[in-house]
């Protein structure tokens, strides 16, 4: 696989949320506004790329028997780094994302990429893989959070785009809206990929 293929793979064919459907908790919980969705997406890109690079660089020194605990420590360390940086420099976003920042550590996509890709590939390839998967995650977050913000609030990034007369569909930013809209989004993706194949 060339470098671009690796990147594209994460965004489209193996998109973590829309295709693999892992790491759903944060996806459902914090996508109430586009800002939150982007913030969470960028945080995941940072942790995923960082841990992929380190794990790939250390792959010759980490014995097979203890690789899972080693991965967990490295991923937890990157999560804490992001946690501290966001707490210090993007305080309002930090408060909005709350417990879901430390919970990046149990986002299955990160451990899965460490195990399936970074532990067996070069540092550069692993970095690209992390970036691709991360961007795929970000794209899904952007789709879902903009849909929820537009429907539930009539705004995008805080700017009103629907006319005042539009009665915001409160349900979209409440918990049920998260489930239903993500379900529909996955349905649309299924439909598109089936049509492409046919």
């Amino acid at each position: 696989m060339n470098k671009f293929e690796i990147f594209k793979n994460g965004v489209t064919r193996e998109n973590p949320i829309l295709v693999q459907q892992v790491g759903m908790c944060a996806t459902l919980a914090i996508t109430t506004s586009l800002v939150n969705g982007i913030g969470m997406g960028v945080a995941v890109i940072a942790v995923l790329t960082g841990s992929n690079i380190v794990i790939s660089a250390l792959r010759k020194y980490i014995p097979d028997e203890v690789r899972i605990p080693a991965f967990v420590i490295i991923i937890a360390a990157f999560t804490t780094i992001i946690d501290l940086l966001m707490h210090a420099y993007t305080f309002e976003l930090y408060k909005a994302l709350g417990v879901f920042i430390p919970l990046i550590v149990v986002n299955c996509i990160i451990l899965a990429r460490a195990e399936a890709f970074a532990f067996g590939n070069s540092v550069l390839d692993s970095a690209i893989d992390g970036l691709g998967m991360g961007v795929g995650y970000l794209v899904a977050m952007i789709l879902l959070s903009s849909a929820r913000e537009i429907l539930g609030n009539g705004t995008i990034l805080g700017f009103r785009i629907l006319p005042e007369a539009y009665e915001p569909m409160m349900m979209a930013i409440q918990p049920p809206g998260a489930f239903i809209l993500l379900g529909l989004l996955i349905g649309i993706v299924n439909y598109l990929s089936r049509r492409k194949k046919a």
């Binding site: 149990v106 239903i180 379900g183 529909l184 349905g187 299924n190």
Partner: protein, 191 residues
């Protein structure tokens, strides 16, 4: 009385799945049959409660007193992983029957964000030890309730005549959304 209201709030009103979205992965993954869903739910109650007690003690006895709160994420996740391993070994040896029933779910629980989420929430909400215990039992019972109800509905959905594209996880999420509407009704509950 406050403890009772804390229990009901965390059990139903702020239901872990339908309101807080913690533990959605096993919720969607292990809910094809009611039996397995119930097994998973009981295993989760067991692990969450045990993990909350241990992380709570370690947080206040070690991390806070040494000023190492920033290591919380690493320490908690390692404790949870080790705990799950330990419980698995213990059950295998001393309660083979229970191990048969719950064993296959245990490894899945390590990456269940509900466990870490509850452990961290206990600290964020500044619960006392007893409150955190009640909260953990309430939240994890909420998980059991949600996953069993959901498995029951899903049984029927499988036989429904659906557009191909919506089959599988798409319709599962939409179903969960509709159940979440029902749980939203509890949010006006004043306790």
């Amino acid at each position: 009385m406050e403890l009772v209201s804390l229990f009901i709030t965390s059990f139903i009103v702020n239901n872990i799945i339908f309101m807080q979205f913690l533990g959605t992965c096993p919720f969607l993954g292990v809910s094809k049959q009611i039996d397995t869903a119930a097994g998973m739910g009981i295993a989760v109650i067991f692990v969450i409660t045990l993990a909350s007690v241990i992380t709570y003690i370690i947080h206040y006895a070690i991390l806070v007193s040494l000023g190492l709160e920033y290591l919380q994420t690493i320490v908690f996740i390692l404790i949870i992983a080790a705990l799950v391993q330990f419980v698995e070994m213990f059950l295998k040896k001393s309660a083979p029957g229970l191990y048969q029933a719950l064993g296959i779910f245990l490894p899945l629980i390590t990456t269940n964000c509900a466990v870490l989420g509850v452990a961290i929430n206990n600290i964020i909400y500044e619960y006392t030890f007893v409150e955190s215990l009640v909260y953990s039992v309430g939240i994890s019972s909420g998980f059991l309730l949600a996953i069993v109800l959901f498995a029951g509905v899903r049984d029927k959905v499988d036989y429904a005549d659906l557009p191909e594209s919506l089959k599988g996880s798409a319709i599962s999420l939409i179903t969960a959304g509709l159940m979440s509407v029902a749980f939203l009704g509890f949010s006006g509950l004043q306790l």
